[in-house]
Symmetry: C2
Subunit: 207 residues, 2 copies
């Protein structure tokens, strides 16, 4: 079967460990390319241009919107965040599965534009474990933790729209699981239209 | 996540090697139970009651239809063929994934009754390879081969309704692939409603 890359959208509760999971996935297998978002917000300490984000001005970002250079974008707290299209398309062409980490609204927008995108939702093994991880970071105030838990509750409403849920219990097992799920997705009929069409033509020709 | 069994429907072109694949799948992993169909046709030489089929009279079969003892059934050439419900339900309860080998019409009926059923379509690597296998059996007349190829062409029209396509090239690889696909299917949100519902309740309780 033809192996074009799949666009993979990963969402999940804050504290579910998406970032670590995806870095490990990209490290462990060479099937994947991690998309880097573009943003107008200022770099934080330790963030590097082109690694965490591409940092651009408001004007540059709006120019990207105009020339349809973004797969999706959103505005939070007066800053833009978006996914540059060219990198994604180049990697898909090369057969890489491209991973975007975005929240549910963005995920559904991507699915509209790219119906063969695969949507994965990362969850902790339990809500109690999620709280424990957020508290354990030691960097967040009780208010922020409460807000994140409330936000998780809202996001949980949208899980049915995803193709797979991934329980992040043990990192290595979970990375292996994600890899299997993505590789399985390659075998859906909707991602193999050319193969099926060729088979039909061949069958006709043989009769 | 709760691990109730999934109902798996396997269809595919005659000559694609479904039977061998499924026997090997059940042998290689103990996740699976193979459903045995009930039929009114007479046993052929070498067929054993309860292995290839449960052989029953027309009256007994119609009694099963009346008491809703069948997951699905169909009538071909004056004989009934059907899937006994009790065995399927008992195995699913035990957490086994139950495999039914049925053609596309039956597959779609099962999907209607059991929306979480997983539909897999087995294909040869190419139409030419399919023809080669049918000819290679040496048991089928050119007319039968032509009819099977024509039938494959018709069945190919329905592939989009399946969840996964499975290319049967090398037996062992293909069995491993089927296993991965089925295990991936366990992680779809629609098959984990209880887990998601519990997570939502837990998150609410924590706030």
């Amino acid at each position: 079967m033809g192996r074009k890359g799949i666009l993979i959208v990963v969402s999940g509760f804050s504290g579910a460990g998406k970032g670590t999971l995806m870095k490990e996935l990209v490290r462990a297998y060479d099937h994947y390319a991690l998309s880097v978002s573009m943003t107008t917000r200022a770099p934080r300490l330790g963030e590097t241009e082109g690694k965490e984000y591409f940092f651009v001005t408001h004007e540059a970002f709006e120019e990207e919107i105009r020339r349809e250079g973004l797969v999706e974008y959103a505005r939070y707290c007066d800053n833009y965040y978006g996914t540059p299209r060219e990198y994604v398309e180049r990697q898909l062409e090369k057969g890489k599965d491209v991973i975007l980490e975005i929240e549910i609204q963005g995920a559904l927008k991507v699915k509209e534009k790219f119906p063969t995108a695969l949507l994965m939702f990362v969850m902790p093994p339990s809500a109690a474990e999620l709280k424990k991880r957020l508290v354990g970071r030691g960097t967040e105030s009780p208010e922020v933790i409460a807000r994140r838990l409330a936000r998780a509750g809202e996001e949980a409403e949208g899980i049915e729209q995803y193709d797979f849920i991934v329980i992040n219990d043990k990192l290595e097992e979970c990375v292996g699981k994600m890899h299997s799920l993505i590789q399985a997705a390659h075998d859906a009929p909707g991602r193999n239209k050319e193969f099926i069409e060729n088979m039909r033509k061949e069958l006709e020709a043989l009769q």
